[in-house]
Amino acid sequence: MTIRLEVRGAGKRYKRGWALRHCEVRIGPSSITALLGPNGAGKSTLMAAAAGLTGLTEGEIAVDGRVVDRRMDPALGYLAQDKPLYRRWRVSDLLAHTKDLNTTWDERHARRLVDDACLSLNTRVGTLSGGQRTRLALILVLGRRPAMVLLDEPLADLDPLARLQFQQTLMAEVADTGMTVLLSSHILNKVQDHCDQLLLLQDGQITLHGEVDRLVQQHRMLTGPVSDSLDWLPTADRVEVRTTARQRTVLVSAAPPVLPTDWTDEPVDLEEIVIARLRSTQNTGVRTEGAA
């Protein structure tokens, strides 16, 4: 499945202010992208806009060149954060209902996923546990055989076992179909093992985007004496500077080829990069110049 999602200068303003601003991003086919950011960063707004649920104030979002205009592209699947389902209905009713709402629906696939999830067709949705309900909501998305799924905080409120089961279902689907996934979360360690792309959203703006491996490779932690000035380090490359009584550590987005004497260079993991980015933005406001 090949599909491409392009966000071009997207902005969304509510009464309280801008939820998204100047968002530019391209998500390629067969990738799993983690959309990270603190609460209120604009992740759900971006997801909803891509799903056609919310109109943009400026810019546009296109799926394979088709501009999304308050209608979800047929190639997409969307799972909302609160997983709204008809709670009084039985699982079988919901499957039939979803089938009727779609022109493309793989009944056998959906039934198999229901069996795999050990969900009884006669069970009322309201009596399912949070994890089961989330899994059912995912099954209803996957039954449409979408080329790309947008999952808005799917792992929030799930216990570890339910989270694992959800991830297993999703990853099996990705492995089978090559489906593209955009998955938002405000907690990095819930998603980092499965994602090959990272998109960091802060205060409605994209502050970091790229392949996880490349980002990890590029970012370095430099450590050196407090007395040294940092003139040799381009400001744009500095993500976070921390100074203690004995040493200074600088997280950089690109390490210089040659380090001054007494300075060391160490690799960092993704969590350190994201947290440093979030912390530096909190201290200084959004920095878009570092965005990849």
Binding site: G77, P84, L85, L101, N102, R144
Partner: protein, 307 residues
Amino acid sequence: MWRAAWRQHRLWVIGTVALVAFGGAVLGLIAVVTPACASTAYWEVPGATCNVEPAATLWRLFRLAFLGLPILAGVVLGALTFGPDVEHRTQVYALTQGVSRFRWWTAKVVTMSLPVFTAAALLGLATLWVVNASDNFVISTARLTTPGFDVLGLIPATRFLVAYAAAAAAALIWRTVGGIVVGLVVAGVVVIGATMLQPAVVPHSRELLPVQAWLVGGSQPSMTDRNSAYESGGWADAAGRDIDSSHWNCGEDFDACLRANGVIYRLETYVPDSQYPRMMLTISALNLLLAGAFLGIGARRLRRQDL
């Protein structure tokens, strides 16, 4: 999508249509149990006695129910078409399937309103037929005035549609309770407005009666058949023109006062019963226009709404 809409709303639709069908059964029962003695011809039989009360009570109850139920049903069904979806955010689930907003809206509105509208229209027309066909004073009702006008023909069905459309549009914004409240207010305004507007949508008949004959009761207007709607009475000069009597200060000699003011005729204005079809169709058309406006507002709202 149609099957999906039917699955979601069938209980309410079936329940409401069943209620209307029950009304139809009651109407049939009234026609059956109304004793033959209620016929106008029966009273020509000397010494006749007759118990028409059960049928008359049933007819009064039927009229009362059919007066309010279409509006109540419209408000409730309208609010329930979108209100629960807005409250539980299940419209997000529905609109992230392979269906456009307009198609989702259309399927739900048509599924919920069309069967009930049709049933109410059929019952209204059946009631009209029964009233027209009956030759008895139990079922007799004035077609041009409340409550007769409100329960006959297409009026109940179109009022249902107005209440439904207003509640459905409001429920998209203010959820179920808001939809019900707005629907009730709109329906109330429509009923009051229509009652005030009714006589204005058809031409009135004017009848001039020689005033002297009228004063002694020797001349009665021909409009006094059971179904005509009396509008106003006044005075006219020899040319038949209205005379404004608001400034008169007549004493005990009313005849002299009339003569002094140039009155030659008593003027009676009324809506003849023959105007009923025109009045009913005109008010129904206005109701449909209003319902269409509310439906348009609802559709536009959903089209532009951020979910």
